[in-house]
Amino acid sequence: MTKKIDVEVSALLDKLVTDLTPLLAVNPVIIGIHTGGSWLAEILHERLAIKEPCGSLDISFYRDDFSRIGLNPEVKASNIPQDISDRHILLIDDVLQTGRTVRAAMNEIFDYGRPASIRLCVLVERKGHELPIQADYCGMTLDLGQDQHIKLVGPEKLSLVVGGLVAGDNQS
């Protein structure tokens, strides 16, 4: 069974830009989680007019299910161009559900240095937390069934896909 959501990604981004603007006071380093989070990080980085380059993380080497499912053959290299010690990190992902990806990302970040703080920003937060991890900034919350999945597709035109249907699709 699929569920259609009617939502514009650009509207969510507008909300996030507004919510994140006060954070500019601490000069944050933006890091996106590959792949959806990296697309969002690039956009937010530009809209918030942050000068330093943004980083990206592929957390494949830090996943907690490595010994069960092995290495992702598509793993990309992580790239954090600046020293993050004592910096405030704004970590960005597309969807927060279990929190396991974010845990892995935080583990990897600490191998680059000791940040002053990490804040989490996601486009969509959905039920199903398995770890004590919540978003500090969130475009929207969604109540989806356990067998449903949601993902961000892009990067040319970002859209949210739920259970195989494209959100915003006018088909009724």
Binding site: D58, F66, S67, G70, A77, S78, F110
Partner: protein, 320 residues
Amino acid sequence: MKPHLQYTNNGNLRHFLSIEDLQKETLQQILTTADKFTQFGQREIKKLPLLRGHTVVNLFFENSSRTRTTFEIAAKRLSADVINLNPTTSSTSKGETLLDTINILEAMHTDLFVIRHAKSGVAELIARHVPDHVHIINAGDGQHAHPTQAMLDMFTIRQHKGPFNELRVAIVGDILHSRVARSQIHALNSLGVHEIRVVAPNSLLPSQIERLGVHAYNDLQKGLDGVDVVMMLRLQKERMQHAYIPSEQEYFNLYGLTTESLAAAAEDAIIMHPGPINRGLEISSEVADGPRSVILSQVTNGIAIRMAVMAMILGGEGNG
């Protein structure tokens, strides 16, 4: 060797024994994975948690400092616990058999054995003996295979020369005794290089070597003509009791890689050597230390390749 020995039922890499019988996709995945592992040098903590809690035993029945060291560094970068054993100086010299040694170490919950042995086929023998959750990497067996060396060579070629399909590669030296050459030839063929040449006197060429898909040359100048990659082999002095060559000086005159003999190769050809180098025997110092030599980058790449193979073998274990 049956292909399934190196793969699990689900097609994951289970052991890494020989390039032969591995799928091209597996070789490509090793290269791609190693690529990612080369990029941890600039981080504050040069360690990944992938093999945390796993035990790797380096079991070297034959001496090797560079291969053992890079395996050790690779396992440690992946957070494994590493034990180095040199059984010639311990239990086997007291009469314990090879498989007894393995059983004892296995009882200590070893997950992965990295094995080097002077006899061909030992790694495979052990791989057939161990239970499913124990894995074997061949770090060189007799004159048979040295697959991680071949893969680090492939990685170095790709890094310096780009795609394989247009490259001409010459392997020069003691082909007869070289497990490195055998593994290199299988890997180069599988990855689809344009041409593989082997260059050596007849006394150092295995009979019917051309069956492996290579062109054999006795003349160094002709063999090097226009090649993009020159892979030198070590002249294995310890295996030379049987007068394979008239004299070391004559060998160097005919087959030694020097600035003069190298002139036949392509202008931007790279020079490789698995080490240790016999300077003035198979290669001159001028060439070994020259700008086209990538010998040290082979050593560095050995770490990333060994990390990739270990991660691919130990990841996804619970999945069959």
